[in-house]
């Protein structure tokens, strides 16, 4: 046994080792089963005007969405973080300030204000500076009116669900008859897009439910699409500004990066590196 042969042996061992280890790790990775079949329904694919890096909100759609919210959703769902003044801000539904004054005053609920001179709270019509008045004074009242379920606040809902607008659209248009084998809780409805498949909200939309004045189809699908877009705007009111500034920043970075690249090339030209 010479030193050399021992060395060769060690070398062969060390040369094989990485390959063997890679194989072992790969085997470990293969041991991972195909993802346990989770009860997730692929969302319906919807095209929204705000998709993509240059997408913007459709003003008419946001205005219709607000109408659907006020006439249908707002009886159960609060929207605490939104103020009427937001409706006339840039990048949103683009109502005029005059229209917003009317919309605030015409909201289905009045705003609770006070206390007045004698210490009492009082109700008064909404103003543009008010936040949307909530449907229930507290969560307990909301649950009591909704069969124990709590209707979620709408302010950031579109960002609090994966693929928010698609999810909301799919949910609103996805009510079906429950499969025969499924045991339904009292007062719940089958909806494959809702986690667990049972939702306490009755199908909220139906054709001809909300009067549109702009020739848009008065269908469940259109209502669902409009409210989904409206909720996306509510959750991300600065989206248009963000994309606009983003484009300017990207162009700036490309130009500056290009100039720097050539500067660097010229500077390093005579350095062997």
């Amino acid at each position: 046994m010479t030193m050399r042969s021992a060395k060769t042996k060690a070398m062969i061992l060390t040369r094989i080792a990485p390959v063997a280890l890679t194989a072992a790790i790969a085997a470990g990775a293969l041991a991972v089963p195909a993802q346990a079949a989770e009860e997730t329904h692929a969302l319906k694919s919807v095209h929204f005007s705000f998709d993509g890096p240059f997408g913007t909100f459709d003003r008419g759609q946001l205005q219709r969405g607000y109408k659907v919210y006020v006439e249908v959703c707002s009886s159960c769902h609060s929207m605490d973080l939104l103020a009427f003044r937001n409706l006339s801000e840039e990048g949103g539904p683009d109502f005029t300030p005059e229209q917003v004054r009317v919309l605030a005053a015409d909201f289905p609920r009045e705003v609770i204000d006070g206390p007045d001179d004698v210490g009492d709270m009082f109700e008064r019509p909404g103003k543009p500076s008010d936040n949307f008045p909530p449907p229930f004074p507290n969560q307990a009242a909301a649950r009591a009116s909704n069969n124990g379920a709590l209707p979620p606040d709408f302010s950031v809902l579109a960002k609090a669900r994966h693929a928010g607008p698609e999810y909301i659209y799919s949910l609103l248009t996805g009510y079906e008859d429950a499969p025969a084998h499924m045991e339904m809780r009292d007062g719940s409805y089958y909806n494959p897009y809702f986690p667990g498949g049972q939702i306490s909200m009755a199908p909220p939309l139906s054709d001809e439910l909300v009067e549109y004045t702009d020739d848009s189809p008065m269908t469940t699908e259109q209502y669902a699409k409009d409210i989904s877009a409206f909720l996306m705007w509510a959750a991300e009111p600065k989206m248009e500004e963000r994309k606009r500034i983003g484009f300017q920043v990207m162009v700036f970075l490309v130009v500056l990066g290009g100039l720097l690249y050539f500067t660097k090339q010229k500077l390093w030209r005579d350095v062997e590196h």
């Binding site: 072992a24 041991a31 937001n86 609090a160 963000r242 990207m250 970075l253 500067t263």
Partner: protein, 426 residues
């Protein structure tokens, strides 16, 4: 940082200042004339990128702090107030949130660059160890920052991570209650996390200063792993590396901006837009992506205390890395076996990150265990043995020679160098 300078300034004002406080000459020596190996590649630009991101996080964080309210009933809405009513508040918040992610992308590239080129070896052991301290500080800061918006993942992430300390025998529960300032994660927890989240970046900045100081004593490592031998091997930091770093920073910022402006919430979790609710546990509690490999290691060990120890050991092992790697050769370019093990380690870490995002069941746990064992084996078994058994390639005599070899010029030695390091070409 060095002693008294011998630079003599002609301008009387500059000379007056510099003889009393040699800040101008110190900057000139360390940031302008600093002799830097001329063969650094783009993986050496991440130090500058990281310094920039520490700055971005501090500046955006400072302004966010002016509008944020650290109280359990106000925190969530105060963040939304920033998003809706503060001028460019959305920009500041998205820069800060995505800035944390890109800070970690940069630091992980920086660390793996150090691993590949053996930058942790003598004489840079302390520089490397200070770097590990920086990583720990970054993790603590990021974790506490993620709690501040007080969404569901903030609350439950804080609950899971602080509960880890309850695994400590005897005093575990007492420690956790001390961390919480109560009997559950609550308002005192949020307040102290905010206070510490504000403090730690400045500690981080101080440790970064030490890191740079420790770097400027031996100077940079370089892709050849051969130390600087003569002036021919180096060029002044400015303008060569200031311009190159600047270019790399702009390229990195391009990817950062793509996320800030077009995918601002992609790296976050949707559940964090649901206000924290101690009564509702999310289906899957997942930490931020940059913690996932460590989370996988934590869950791979069937025992709670063991898992916590393994998770901390995953970082602690980096502290002693300079003494675990027994090879005298620094750069993986000249270590054919180490180079393969390096890439296996990269794949292992990515695999652990993938598994950290999966539910802890069935095959995922088995795979996590295999990869966890391999992670530690890499440092504790493979590296010590590799230094003994690996036959390394011949090293170039100097940086200049390795550069000549790369360009196919030079004499016989250079040609041999080229043959032994073909991946260095082009």
């Amino acid at each position: 940082m060095s002693g008294h300078s011998t630079i003599h300034y002609k301008n009387p004002v500059v000379r007056w200042i510099d003889t009393r406080l040699p800040i101008i000459s110190t900057m000139q020596v360390n940031a302008m004339d600093f002799p830097t190996p001329k063969n650094l590649n783009y993986f050496w630009t991440f130090g500058g990128i990281l310094t920039l991101f520490l700055g971005i996080q501090i500046v955006t964080g400072l302004i966010l702090a002016m509008h944020y309210t650290a109280h359990v009933s106000l925190a969530f809405n105060s963040v939304e107030h920033i998003m809706r009513d503060v001028n460019y508040g959305w920009l500041l918040r998205y820069m800060h949130a995505n800035g944390a992610s890109f800070f970690f992308i940069a630091v992980y590239i920086h660390i793996f660059r150090g691993l590949y080129y053996g930058s942790y070896k003598q004489p840079r052991e302390l520089l490397w160890m200070i770097g590990v301290v920086i990583l720990l500080l970054m993790m603590a800061t990021a974790f506490m920052g993620y709690v501040l918006p007080w969404g569901q993942m903030s609350f439950w992430g804080a609950t899971v991570i602080t509960n880890l300390f309850s695994a400590i025998p005897l005093v575990g529960t007492a420690i956790v209650e001390w961390l919480w300032g109560g009997f559950a994660v609550g308002n005192p927890t949020l307040n102290r996390f905010y206070s510490l989240h504000y403090l730690l970046p400045f500690v981080l900045a101080a440790v970064v200063f030490l890191h740079i100081w420790a770097l400027h004593v031996p100077g940079n490592n370089n892709p050849s792993g051969v130390e600087v031998k003569s002036d021919k091997d180096t060029i002044p930091f400015h303008p060569y590396y200031t311009v190159k770093d600047f270019f790399a920073i702009i390229v990195f910022l391009f990817f950062y901006a793509a996320f800030v402006f077009y995918l601002p919430n992609t790296l976050g979790h949707t559940d964090n837009y649901i206000p924290a609710n101690p009564l509702v546990t999310p289906a899957h509690i997942v930490p931020e992506w940059y913690f996932l490999p460590f989370y996988a290691i934590l869950r791979a060990v069937p025992d709670k205390l063991g898992g916590v120890i393994a998770m901390f050991a995953a970082i602690a092992v980096l502290f002693v890395l300079p003494w675990l790697d027994t090879s005298k050769v620094k750069s993986a370019t000249f270590r054919p076996l180490y180079r393969q093990f390096f890439w296996i380690l990269v794949i292992t870490c990515i695999g652990l990150g993938y598994l950290g995002a999966k539910p802890p069941e069935g095959g995922y746990v088995i795979a996590s265990r295999i990869l966890t064992i391999y992670y530690f084996a890499h440092f504790l078994v493979i590296l010590p043995l590799l230094g003994i058994f690996e036959r390394t390639k011949p090293l170039p005599a100097s940086i200049s020679e390795s550069v000549l070899a790369k360009h196919g010029g030079g004499g016989a030695t250079a040609a041999a160098g080229a043959a032994s390091a073909p991946e260095n070409r082009g």
